[in-house]
């Protein structure tokens, strides 16, 4: 029996409009799915470093897509060519769409020219997962680091991106910092573009 559909069925995905990205689902849905991502990947690896790498790879695929979609939909087809531009895009637009708020902070590293940090007091992916003690410094933020790397790499700003816990005085839970270290070619190009 053919069901009476409420939403219009499209013959093909290419006919379906891109939509404005305003649809919502529950935070729990994401939390449950994400914890399965972590659990599943744990069965595929031998150590924490590999687990983080797999989470990063999963995030990278999301980042690549988010870059294409959001530059088109949220930024009127503006393609970022400058370092601060792409960082601002990530800190504001990407964060707002994916996590419902702009990131807490974007800072330039004090010790190295090629380092920048995006920090979040309570990164979404770290909110529901309690890391067992025997997993040491494992950080689910690796998934978000992957998203950031996916955006940067595809936009032409290759970088090494990692997630770190930073204990904050007076706070029970550490904040999460996404550390971005740009490749040399990016720094050279930035200097050339002036």
């Amino acid at each position: 029996m053919i069901g009476v559909g409420k939403a219009k069925q499209y013959a093909n995905v290419l006919d379906k409009p891109l939509g404005r990205g305003r649809q919502e689902v529950s935070l729990s849905a994401f939390a449950f799915l994400f914890s399965e991502v972590v659990q599943y990947n744990q069965t595929q690896v031998d150590n924490i470093a590999e687990l983080e790498r797999r989470l990063e790879d999963a995030g990278y695929a999301v980042g690549a897509r988010v870059l294409e979609l959001l530059c088109h939909r949220e930024k009127g087809n503006r393609r970022e060519t400058r370092l601060l531009g792409i960082l601002s895009f990530i800190h504001s637009t990407v964060w707002k769409v994916l996590f419902g708020k702009v990131a807490d902070s974007l800072e330039k590293g004090t010790e190295h020219e090629d380092e920048y940090m995006i920090s979040e007091k309570e990164l979404l992916v770290n909110r529901f997962i309690s890391v067992p003690k025997d997993m040491g410094a494992f950080n689910c933020g690796a998934f978000v680091a992957g998203i950031v790397r996916g955006v940067l790499d595809n936009a032409g700003f290759p970088a090494v991106v990692t997630a770190h816990f930073v204990p904050i005085e007076g706070q029970q839970r550490p904040r999460t910092t996404i550390l971005i270290k740009f490749a040399e070619e990016v720094i050279h190009r930035e200097a050339r573009l002036g």
């Binding site: 995905v13 290419l14 530059c71 088109h72 393609r79 595809n154 936009a155």
Partner: protein, 135 residues
């Protein structure tokens, strides 16, 4: 409509992932290869130009005899390249913009591997229809 129009999509890694001869002139295989060669040769120019502007539509970036190379670079540095003899710039921009939307939908498919060939026949049909409409 343009009698010569060769449309190619080139991935960020300089690999062609889609081609179509969309002009009205009868198709000849060796001519198609010739066109793709010209477009590939223009990639360096495109790359340099892409870093000088926030716009995706780069207009005409190169010429080859009476043929013009027009390019559109997406946020992820996928290049839409058109080799053509017609001069309607508005049409070309609209063509690129509508193909861009189709491309994003392909790209959003989690089962599509970014940088791989676009195999969807629906995509091909729609691109050719857009070419007939705008070029």
């Amino acid at each position: 409509m343009a009698s010569t129009a060769c449309f190619v999509i080139v991935s960020k890694n300089d690999i062609p992932i889609y081609e179509a001869e969309v002009g009205s002139a009868p198709k000849k295989e060796d001519l198609a290869y010739h066109h793709q060669f010209i477009l590939h040769a223009a990639l360096d120019v495109v790359q340099d130009l892409a870093w000088t502007t926030n716009a995706m539509f780069l207009r005409s970036v190169d010429r080859f005899n009476d043929l013009v190379v027009s390019v559109y670079v997406t946020a992820g540095h996928t290049r839409f390249m058109l080799l053509h003899d017609s001069r309607s710039e508005d049409g070309i921009k609209s063509f690129f913009q509508e193909v861009h939307e189709l491309y994003i939908k392909i790209f959003l498919n989690p089962l599509y591997l970014p940088g791989s060939r676009i195999a969807s026949s629906h995509f091909d049909t729609k691109v050719r229809a857009l070419a007939r409409k705008y070029l």
